[in-house]
């Protein structure tokens, strides 16, 4: 099991070796409601921390998913375009959005850990 981190935009980042897997949190999918469409980036796309990386839509809302860190996409989750509901049923597992390289490990360090994220959720409550 790698290291799990979170952003204030309710994305999770699982770091395993040189690769980060990115998705949206259980809280985020709950806020969006039934997810009907997901667009994931293609492998090879270069992302800067904070740039738009993916799109997630429910019936009445559309949100951008931002790159939590800088790096290059190595894989988009091919399951999601055909089965977007996976983001609702297993947001922090099979509902991952994309995997990417880690250009700057310090960016990962700056993200929240589980305890900090739980505290953040309680604050915005």
């Amino acid at each position: 099991m790698g290291q799990l981190r979170f952003t204030k935009d309710h994305e999770w980042v699982l770091v395993e070796g040189n690769t980060a897997t990115v998705g949206i949190t259980t809280y985020a999918q709950g806020q969006l409601g039934d997810i009907v469409f997901v667009e994931v980036p293609a492998a090879g796309k270069d992302l800067k921390a904070g740039s738009e990386a993916a799109v997630v839509e429910s019936v009445k809302a559309a949100s951008d998913v931002y790159a939590p860190i800088t790096g290059a996409v190595t894989e988009g989750n091919a399951l999601l375009p055909d089965a977007p509901e996976t983001v609702n049923t297993d947001p922090q597992g099979a509902g991952w959005f994309f995997k990417m390289t880690i250009a700057n490990p310090a960016e990962v360090e700056a993200l929240m850990d589980q305890a900090a994220y739980d505290k953040y959720l309680a604050e915005i409550g």
Binding site: D34, V36, F37, E57, S58, V59, P84, E85
Partner: protein
């Protein structure tokens, strides 16, 4: 509560109706055309001999089909639409009758000017009313709807800035409470949007707006009265600050119906404003359109107006159809085919002439009176989002629903069973769980009283605390219960397909 079951699936006058494609009798048609004269075919090699796949129905079947469909619709002819910001007022049938006069319906946009003087005069007469009611010197008549009018105004603004060497201005300030069309329009006009917060009392935060003004701001777009149903009392101060900063003031005229005959837009410092003829001036919404969005312009912007526009040379009317020539020398171009939404112009003028200056002033008075009456009476159970008098619409938040498990959406759907169209929900975004209601001037006091009684009863029911489940199931009595929008969006079915062709869509179309 469940509906009674019948073999046909019909329930009394609510009759189920298949798709026209499912009613097909091959070879049937409801139109008998005369025989074609025998002449040589001159289609080159472009003639299509393959079937298109259109269904064939007889005339009685077609008439019954659409009559049944119509009976599944709510409409302003049926009942009350308290839809905030949408201005669902009575659509006089006189307008329809006038639009069908052969001299106004059976004329062509490119027939010689000498044979269409009445049409140009009609456009000019409507333009005169709109200019006089707003005090503005010019109006671009061709925009097709409100959002199109917004685009017209911003295009004029951008053209003016570029002509004045101010092309570096790339930002439009838009309040958080704005209609979604405002930021979408700004983006289409090549502008970045910067959001301006609202104050707790529902107005534009003037201090925050002033702080954002500067050499990169092209314009501000403000809806007035705003989407909280409040007049922007600082409007003139905002206009002065905007002009002092070298920017223009675009006013979204969606709510102009509250101001007609009461104040002239020009006296508020406005540079451009669109007018929704299908809201303020009673032309029908038609289940989504068409509308028209004539856009009044200040002197600073008038020269940049789009073609076509009507001019009068002292003897006759003429139309300027080409940007870059004559009176249109500085025009930014064209945004609509032909001569604009002429059929909508006819209807709007028919209404305006019927109402007259006195009737239009009375209409805005009654609209604001009706909205305040709703506010006063509904406040017995609901929580108004803002204190005090409102203009033509009133917004409540969902504070009164706290702890009931019932949402704004549930209340709205329960209203359907009471025979009313829901109010606008969850808009403006700055009000939590907003219920935005606009009664318009064409509703009687007895209709409002009936609506108030229904809504207050629903509110008391919601507050019982154990009714959430009942509310979630509403409506129970409409032609359909709540529809599965998630399913519609996840696996879109956007057209009928013959059963044997089924999915994927691509296959059939490619054949």
């Amino acid at each position: 509560m469940t509906k009674p079951t019948t073999t046909s699936g019909n329930i009394g006058l609510q009759i189920e109706q298949a798709l026209i494609f499912e009613l097909n009798t091959s070879g049937s048609t409801a139109v008998d055309l005369p025989a074609a004269p025998k002449v040589r075919t001159r289609l080159g090699n472009l003639k299509n001999d393959k079937p298109i796949g259109l269904p064939g129905l007889s005339e009685p079947e077609v008439v019954r089909h659409y009559t049944r469909l119509s009976q599944k619709n709510y409409s302003i002819d049926t009942g009350f639409y308290p839809l905030g910001s949408c201005t669902m007022k009575h659509n006089p049938r006189l307008n329809e009758k006038m639009a069908r006069l052969p001299g106004l319906a059976d004329i062509h946009p490119f027939q010689p000017e000498s044979t269409a003087q009445g049409a140009y005069e009609l456009i000019d007469t409507l333009a005169h009313w709109l200019k006089t009611l707003t005090g503005m010197p010019a109006v671009a008549m061709s925009p097709a709807a409100g959002a199109h009018g917004e685009l017209c105004g911003l295009m004029c603004i951008r053209a003016a800035h570029e002509a004045n060497g101010q092309g570096a201005r790339k930002t439009i300030l838009v309040p958080e409470s704005a209609h979604g069309t405002n930021p979408a329009t700004a983006a289409l006009c090549g502008y970045q949007v910067e959001s301006v917060p609202a104050t707790a009392d529902g107005h534009v935060d003037v201090a925050a707006l002033k702080a954002k003004l500067g050499p990169t701001v092209a314009a501000v777009m403000i809806t007035n009265p705003n989407t909280c149903g409040l007049f922007e009392t600082e409007c003139i101060a905002i206009a002065d600050a905007v002009h002092a900063a070298g920017a223009y003031f675009y006013m979204d005229g969606a709510n102009f119906n509250a101001l007609v005959g009461r104040v002239r837009i020009a006296d508020l410092g406005v540079d451009a404003m669109h007018i929704n003829l299908h809201k303020t001036f009673s032309t029908p919404h038609g289940g989504g359109g068409p509308g028209a969005g004539p856009t009044v312009l200040s002197k600073a912007l008038a020269d940049y107006a789009p073609v076509p526009f009507v001019v009068h040379d002292g003897k006759k009317f003429m139309v300027e159809e080409h940007a870059g020539f004559g009176a249109a020398a500085k025009s930014y171009g064209r945004m609509k085919g032909f001569q604009g939404q002429f059929g909508v112009f006819v209807r709007a003028l028919s209404y305006i002439l019927a109402m007259g200056a006195d009737g239009l002033r009375q209409a805005s008075g009654d609209a604001v009176l009706n909205a305040n009456y709703l506010r006063a009476r509904l406040s017995a159970e609901l929580t108004p989002a803002f204190k005090g008098i409102c203009m033509h619409e009133v917004v409540f938040d969902d504070e009164w629903l706290k702890g009931t498990g019932v949402t704004t959406l549930d209340v709205a759907k329960a209203l359907i069973d009471e025979g009313f169209h829901p109010m606008t929900m969850y808009f403006p975004l700055v009000v939590h769980g907003a219920l935005l209601m606009e009664p318009t001037e064409t509703e009687s006091k007895s209709t409002l009283d009936q609506f108030i009684a229904s809504l207050l009863a629903l509110a008391r029911k919601a507050k019982q605390g154990d009714q959430a489940e009942w509310f979630k199931g509403a409506p129970y009595l409409a032609p359909r219960r709540r529809l599965d929008e998630t399913r519609a969006a996840r696996k879109p079915i956007l057209r009928w397909q013959p059963v044997e062709a089924a999915a994927p869509v691509a296959k059939q179309a490619a054949e």
